[in-house]
C-alpha cells in the first residue's frame, strides 16, 4: 500500500506505477465466479506491495495471483479451499484478514475484551463514586489568581 505513503511524502524514490488492478483480459466469463474472485482478491495481499490487496495492485505478482485465484475458482474450489491453497504456498502473510489462531488471539480479542472490561470497570467505578463520597471542592485560588480576580472585578465595576 503505497498511496498514503506518498501522502506523507515518503518513499519518494519508489517508482509509482499507474494504478490498474484487474485487467480486462483477466475477467471471468461467469459473473458469479468473477464476483467471488473479486471478493477473494480483496482479502489477499500482494506480497511485493505495501499492504495492498491483489485487487488494488498492478504489480505483475498481483496479476499472477489474480489469475491463480481465478484458475482455482474455475477448477471448482470453494472460497476457503482457494485461501488454503494460497496460504500453503505463500504463508499466512498473504491473508489481509489474519486467521483466528494462537498467534493472532490477542489481536482479535483485544477490542472486545477492552470494551467489555473497560465498560464494566467504568460503570462500577462511576456508580460507587456516585453513591459514596460528597463532591470534592475545587482547589483554592492562589494569591496570584486572587489578585487577578480582584483586578477583573474592579475593571467590571468601573466599566459599569
Amino acid at each position: 500500500m503505497r498511496r498514503m505513503m506518498a501522502a506523507f511524502a515518503l518513499l519518494t524514490l519508489l517508482a509509482w506505477p499507474a494504478a490498474h488492478a484487474v485487467q480486462p483480459d483477466e475477467i471471468m466469463s461467469d459473473p458469479a465466479k468473477e464476483a467471488r474472485a473479486r471478493e477473494l482478491s480483496r482479502e489477499l495481499r500482494c506480497m511485493v506491495c505495501q499492504n495492498q490487496s491483489i485487487d488494488d495492485s498492478d504489480a505483475p505478482l498481483a496479476r499472477d495471483l489474480r489469475l491463480l485465484v481465478r484458475e482455482r475458482i474455475g477448477a471448482g474450489d470453494s472460497n476457503s479451499q482457494v485461501l488454503d491453497f494460497l496460504v500453503a504456498r505463500y504463508g499466512e502473510f498473504v491473508l489481509l484478514k489474519p486467521r483466528f489462531e494462537r498467534q493472532t488471539l490477542v489481536l482479535w480479542l483485544l477490542g472486545p475484551l477492552l470494551l467489555i472490561g473497560g465498560g464494566l470497570t467504568l460503570w462500577l467505578q462511576i456508580r460507587r463514586r456516585a453513591q459514596s463520597g460528597a463532591d470534592v471542592p475545587a482547589p483554592p485560588l492562589t494569591p496570584d489568581e486572587q489578585a487577578r480576580l480582584a483586578a477583573l472585578m474592579s475593571d467590571e465595576a468601573k466599566s459599569r
Binding site: 511524502a9 517508482a15 509509482w16 482479502e43 498467534q103 477492552l114 463520597g133
Partner: protein, 660 residues
C-alpha cells in the same frame, strides 16, 4: 550562502530551545517573573529562526540550487513553481523541517496570545514545548540535514515523485502536521499541570481551544489525503487502512476523545486524570505516527535494520517522551483530586462512553498496525493485517458510537433521564427507520446491512437536528422567538450539531459508495461505447500533449444519458521522463453527491486502451462529512466562552483612540 544561513538559523533555534527548556523552569522554582518570561522571548525568537530556516529551504528549491542534495534529489528546473515550493515538504528532510516549523509556530502562538495564562503555567508549558523542539532540532541536524551540499553539483535535479506533483498533496501535509503537532500544546499543558500539581476547570478551558484547532486541521488533513488518494491513484479507493493512514487516524481518534473529556472537565471538573492521560496519549500517538512514517519501519522491519540511524533516533525521542510523561503521570496522577460526581446515566456518562468507544477503536487500530511488526520481530511470524480485519473489528465500535451520539448532547449533566431523551429522539428514530424502509424497497443488490447503516446515518443527522430544534423551541414557539433563541444559542451547541451531523453524512457516503459502486473495466477503441449506471460513455479519441515536465496521453470521452450529451471527460496518463514513471489523472464528473470516474490504463498497439469507469453514488458525502465536522469545530472555537479572557478587545480599542 542561503543553505548555510538556513543551517545556521536552525542551529540557533536549537540553542534558543535549549535555553527555553531550562531557564523558565528555574524561574518557576525561584518564583522569578523575569526568568519565567524568558520563555516568551525565546519562543518567539525560535519561531523567527526556524521560519528563516524554512524560508531558506523554500528559496533553494525555487532557485533550483542543485548543489544542495535535498534540492537535487527532489526537484527539477522544469517543474512548475507551485510544485517547486510544495516539493520542499515532499521529502523526508523538508517535511521534518516543516514539522519543527509548525511546532515553533504553536509555541510562538502560546507565547504571543497566552497573556491570560498564569505566569508559571505559561513558563512550564513553553519549557515542555522546548523539550520536544530541542529533540527534533537535534534529530534534523544530526540525521536529516536538508541543507547538505554536494561536492560536484549536477546540472539537473532528479525531480519530485510525480504523484506528489498535485495540489492535493501541496496542502495535505501542512494540514496534517498542524493537527499532529497542534496536539503538542495539550501535551505540554498536561505535563505542566502534572509538574505544578495543579489542575482545574480553568486549565481545561485553556487547553480546549488548542486541542480544537489541532483537531480541525487533522480532520481536514485526513479528509484531504483521502480525497487525494481517491482521484490521483486511479482506482477510486479512498481509505486503505494502510499503516501510514492509521498513523494519522490514531491521534484523530484519541484527540476526538480528548475534546470530549476536556469538555467534562471544563463544565463539571470531573475526569481530570483521564483528560491528562488522553493529552499525553494523543501526542504520543502523533510521535508514534512520526516514527512509523519517518523510520521506514513500515516498509519492512529489515529496511529499518539496514539503515537504523533515523529510526533509532526517533525511537529514542519516542521512548524518552512517552516513557517520561507516563512515569510523571503515574507518580503525580493520584495527587490530582477528582471532583464532579455524576450518575452513570448523564451527559458525563455519555461522554465517558464516547471516550471508551473511541479509545478502544484507537487501541484496535494501534494493535492492527503494530502487531504484524511485533510478530515478525519477536516470533519470526510474517502476517498481514488489512482492510478486512478492520471492517470486522473497527466498524462495530463505530456503529455503537453512532447509536449513542444523538443521546449525548440531550442528556442532562449529573443525572440524566434516558427514557425522556429516548422519547424526545422518537421523531429522529422514526426518520431513521423510514430511511431504512425506503432504501430497502429501492435498493437492488448489496449487503442487507446497508439500509440499516444508512438508517443509522439518518438517525444521527436527525438527532443533531432534533437537538437544535429542542433548544430553539422550533415547532412549539412563535417563529420570532425561535429566531431570537437560535441567535442566543451558544455557538458550541451549533458546533456540536454540525459535527455530529457530519458523522452521519460521512457514514451515508461510505455505505453508498461501498455498496452500490458500479464499475466497468474494458479495452476500448475509438467510438466504442461503455454503458454504466444509465450513462453512455463513448471514446471519441486519443491525443498526445506535452506538459512542462511530462508528456501526457489524453482520452476524450463523450458522456451522455438517454441520448443527451452531459459532458466531455478527459482522463489522462502522464509520463515523467526524469523518473521514468507515470501517473493517471482520473476524470471526474460530479452529479449531485455522486461521481462518474474514468481512469486510463495502458494503450496497446492497435490504438485500443484499457479503461476503468466507475459510478460512485453519494461518494462526495464521505468528504462533506469531515468538512461539516471541521465547520462544527470552527463554530465551537468561535464560542464566546472560549474568546472570553483572550486578548481584551475593549482595551485594544482604547489604545487605538487618540488621546483626548
Amino acid at each position: 550562502m542561503i543553505a548555510e544561513s538556513g543551517h545556521y538559523a536552525l542551529v540557533l533555534a536549537l540553542g534558543l530551545a535549549l535555553i527555553q527548556s531550562i531557564v523558565p523552569l528555574i524561574g518557576a522554582r525561584l518564583r522569578d517573573a523575569a526568568l519565567m518570561n524568558v520563555a516568551r522571548s525565546t519562543a518567539l525568537a525560535q519561531l523567527l529562526f526556524v521560519g528563516a530556516s524554512f524560508v531558506a529551504l523554500v528559496m533553494l528549491h525555487v532557485n533550483s540550487d542543485f548543489s544542495v542534495a535535498n534540492v537535487y534529489e527532489n526537484s527539477h528546473s522544469m517543474k512548475p513553481l507551485l510544485y517547486k515550493i510544495t516539493g520542499v515538504w515532499g521529502n523526508h528532510e523538508g517535511s521534518m523541517l516543516l514539522w519543527v516549523s509548525i511546532l515553533a509556530l504553536f509555541g510562538g502562538l502560546v507565547a504571543a496570545f497566552g497573556n491570560n495564562l498564569p505566569l508559571s503555567l505559561r513558563a512550564h508549558v513553553l519549557a515542555v514545548q522546548a523539550w520536544v523542539a530541542s529533540a527534533f532540532y537535534l534529530f534534523i541536524l544530526v540525521t536529516s540535514n536538508p541543507f547538505l551540499r554536494i561536492a560536484n553539483p549536477p546540472i539537473e535535479g532528479r525531480d519530485l515523485n510525480p504523484v506528489l506533483q498535485d495540489i492535493g498533496l501541496a496542502v495535505h501535509p501542512p494540514m496534517l502536521y498542524l493537527g499532529y503537532v497542534g496536539f503538542s500544546i495539550s501535551f505540554s499543558f498536561a505535563i505542566a499541570a502534572l509538574m505544578e500539581g495543579r489542575i482545574d476547570a480553568a486549565w481545561a478551558r485553556w487547553v480546549r481551544p488548542w486541542t480544537l484547532v489541532a483537531w480541525i486541521f487533522l480532520t481536514l488533513g485526513i479528509a484531504m489525503g483521502s480525497y487525494w488518494a481517491y482521484y490521483e491513484l486511479g482506482w477510486g479507493g479512498w481509505w486503505f487502512w494502510d499503516p501510514v493512514e492509521n498513523a494519522s487516524l490514531m491521534p484523530w481518534l484519541s484527540g476526538t476523545a480528548l475534546l470530549h473529556s476536556a469538555l467534562v472537565m471544563e463544565k463539571r471538573n470531573a475526569l481530570k486524570v483521564w483528560t491528562i492521560l488522553l493529552s499525553i496519549l494523543t501526542f504520543s500517538l502523533s510521535l508514534l505516527g512520526t516514527f512509523l512514517v519517518r523510520s521506514g519501519v513500515i516498509t519492512s522491519v529489515h529496511a529499518f535494520a539496514t539503515d537504523p540511524t533515523r529510526g533509532v533516533f526517533i525511537l529514542l525521542i519516542l521512548c524518552l517522551f512517552i516513557g517520561g510523561s507516563l512515569s510523571l503521570f503515574a507518580g503525580r496522577a493520584t495527587s490530582l483530586k477528582q471532583g464532579g460526581l455524576f450518575a452513570p446515566i448523564s451527559r458525563e456518562g455519555a461522554l465517558v462512553l464516547n471516550n471508551l468507544l473511541l479509545t478502544v477503536a484507537c487501541a484496535v487500530v494501534l494493535f492492527g498496525t503494530l502487531y504484524p511488526l511485533a510478530m515478525e520481530m519477536l516470533a519470526d511470524f510474517k502476517m498481514s493485517v488489512g482492510a478486512p480485519f478492520y471492517n470486522l473489528t473497527f466498524a462495530p465500535l463505530f456503529v455503537l458510537l453512532l447509536l449513542a451520539v444523538p443521546f449525548g448532547p440531550m442528556l442532562a449533566w449529573k443525572r440524566g433521564d434516558l427514557l425522556g431523551v429516548t422519547q424526545r429522539l422518537l421523531a429522529a428514530g422514526v426518520t431513521g427507520l423510514v430511511a431504512v424502509a425506503i432504501v430497502w424497497g429501492w435498493a437492488r443488490g448489496g449487503s442487507a446491512l446497508a439500509p440499516l447503516a444508512i438508517g443509522l446515518g439518518v438517525f444521527v443527522i436527525a438527532g443533531a437536528v432534533t437537538d437544535i430544534v429542542e433548544r430553539t423551541g422550533l415547532v412549539r414557539l412563535p417563529f420570532a422567538t425561535v429566531l431570537h433563541r437560535a441567535r442566543g444559542l451558544p455557538r458550541s451547541a451549533w458546533g456540536t450539531a454540525f459535527a455530529h451531523a457530519g458523522l452521519g453524512v460521512a457514514l451515508i457516503g461510505i455505505v453508498c459508495e461501498t455498496t452500490w459502486n458500479s464499475e466497468h473495466i474494458a479495452t476500448m477503441k475509438q467510438n466504442d461505447v461503455a454503458q454504466i449506471a444509465g450513462f453512455d460513455v463513448k471514446l471519441d479519441g486519443l491525443l498526445q500533449r506535452q506538459g512542462p515536465n511530462f508528456r501526457e496521453m489524453i482520452a476524450q470521452f463523450n458522456v451522455s444519458r438517454d441520448g443527451e450529451t452531459l459532458s466531455v471527460m478527459t482522463p489522462s496518463k502522464r509520463s515523467f521522463t526524469t523518473r521514468g514513471s507515470s501517473t493517471t489523472e482520473a476524470a471526474l464528473l460530479t452529479r449531485g453527491a455522486s461521481q462518474l470516474y474514468i481512469s486510463l490504463g495502458d494503450a496497446n498497439a492497435e490504438g485500443a486502451i484499457a479503461v476503468r469507469i466507475y459510478y460512485k453514488p453519494m461518494v462526495l458525502m464521505i468528504w462533506w462529512g469531515p468538512v461539516l465536522m471541521a465547520f462544527g469545530g470552527v463554530l465551537s472555537l468561535s464560542d464566546r466562552r472560549l474568546r472570553v479572557g483572550a486578548p481584551k478587545p475593549a482595551r485594544a480599542k482604547q489604545r487605538l483612540q487618540p488621546a483626548e
